[in-house]
């Protein structure tokens, strides 16, 4: 059973005109957001995107943009309360362990 989060929230954008078709984004995306037929990939299902930023970080031509960041509710709440940037203290939580 696959899990899908909220629709139409991801900030992911792909500028195909800058893309050289290297395929790196298809490779690094952990949610299969991109599809390709061996040439320039396209965004197949943006609602699967978790904004991890891997695709943009590894795109050699800067064709991808996405606002990646901390996605923990508790970090966002404490960030709001203290008026600072949210930071996920994973060292204590060891969450998302792979």
């Amino acid at each position: 059973m696959s899990l899908i989060y909220l629709d139409d929230v991801s900030t992911l954008a792909l500028a195909s005109n800058k893309c050289n078709g290297c395929g790196r984004c298809v490779q690094v995306c952990p949610h299969g957001v991109f599809a390709s037929n061996g040439k320039k990939p396209w965004i197949n299902d943006i609602n699967l995107c978790m904004e991890c930023g891997a695709c943009a970080k590894n795109c050699p031509t800067g064709a991808i943009s996405v606002e990646s960041g901390v996605g923990c509710a508790s970090a966002l709440i404490s960030g709001w309360l203290s008026g600072s940037e949210p930071s996920c203290d994973c060292s204590e939580d060891g969450k998302k362990c792979c």
Binding site: R24, G32, S68, K96
Partner: protein
């Protein structure tokens, strides 16, 4: 920085002899490298269990640097990973029978994905660790295999010109490493996708439950005190409804995540909490007016608690986006706090001033 790290590596080596997972040393052109076990000891397993339950969790890390598995030579593959002990253990137990090098980055004891998100498993650390380990003198090839989930922190295109090494992204899960290497560094589509199985969620539950219990204790303390003078003391039924709501949010929602309707975690948690609270109220029949007020209070407050606890689980999920969590918070937090406040007032009123049948 370079020279410093180099001596750091030398020092780390001599202190590591005492580590239970080191089974020998391997001579290389640039000095001896610790050989690590691919079987976990009882101590490793106990350590993992303690970490999961939050007992002495700080500093569960290994020294960064180069390690050997089996009898690697200059042609053997190089795997890169993080210095969180659980990550290190998860990796090495999948490497039995292989001859390879393992380069451990200093991620401050944080797992690969989180560290990549923070940037500690990043381009800079990778570059300096490759240089500090003298990797180019140890292997003749120029390829390093990174876990795919490191891609949020490392820009693979920046590594070759700075180190001479090319980056290959391996599978998401350590358990696929052997197959990946034996198929000539080819990952199947499935190896590239992150999952969030029942088992994945189960191991995360203690980390949800422990803080939830800690949060509950002061509430129970206050009720215990107010029960001494309240007109209508709260009893076992109320305690069961409350405890059930805490478990609904921190245990049931994570475990049953795909089966609870809705996409927002707060909605899922609220539904789970509502089911439990309504169900447990249903069992206690024959309300009087004050009982109804208490029941209404519980129906507002308890599912709100479940909802909040479930919302926290977004931090552990492997598929929620920051933009989505922000949106969810914007809608859910006012509702949660409003319901909790009204519910709390109703409960307090019924509890303190209601017509009690002193038990």
């Amino acid at each position: 920085m370079n020279g410093q790290s180099h001596s750091g590596r030398q020092m780390a080596k001599s202190s590591e002899i005492t580590e239970s997972w080191q089974i020998g040393e391997l001579a290389t052109p640039i000095g001896s490298v610790p050989v690590i076990a691919t079987r976990l000891s009882a101590k490793d397993k106990l350590g993992a269990w303690k970490v999961r339950w939050g007992i002495g969790r700080m500093n569960y890390k290994v020294s960064p640097g180069l390690y050997a598995v089996g009898e690697p030579d200059e042609a053997s593959p190089v795997l890169v990973s993080a210095n969180y002990k659980l990550t290190f253990d998860a990796l090495r137990q999948e490497l039995s029978g292989l001859d390879c090098w393992v380069l451990i980055l200093d991620t401050d004891g944080i797992n690969v994905w989180c560290a990549a998100g923070k940037g500690t498993f990043g381009t800079e650390e990778l570059v300096s660790r490759i240089q500090a380990a003298g990797l180019s003198e140890i292997v003749s090839h120029r390829l390093i295999i990174l876990p795919q989930l490191a891609a949020s922190g490392v820009g693979a295109q920046d590594i070759p010109q700075r180190t001479g090494f090319h980056v290959e992204y391996g599978p998401v899960r350590a358990s696929d490493i052997k197959e990946f290497i034996s198929s000539g560094n080819e990952a199947t589509e499935e190896m590239r996708l992150v999952s969030f199985t029942f088992k994945d969620r189960l191991v995360l539950v203690p980390m949800e439950l422990v803080p939830a219990i800690k949060m509950s204790l002061p509430i129970l303390g206050v009720v215990f005190l107010s029960n001494q003078f309240a007109r209508k003391p709260l009893g076992k039924k109320d305690l069961a409804a409350f405890a059930g709501a805490v478990i609904a949010g921190s245990v049931a929602t994570p475990l049953l995540l795909p089966y609870i309707p809705g996409k927002a975690f707060s909605l899922k948690g609220w539904l789970a909490g509502l089911c439990w609270t309504a169900g447990s109220l249903q069992l206690s029949k024959g309300f009087e007016l004050q009982d109804r007020m208490l029941a209404a209070g519980e129906l507002l407050l308890f599912p709100a608690i479940s909802s909040y606890l479930a919302l926290n689980f977004t931090g552990s999920s492997t598929y929620t986006s920051p933009s989505g969590v922000k949106k969810e918070l914007k809608y859910a937090m006012p509702l949660i706090s409003g319901a909790a406040a009204i519910g709390g007032v109703l409960m307090a009123a019924a509890h303190l001033f209601g017509k009690g049948e002193k038990k």
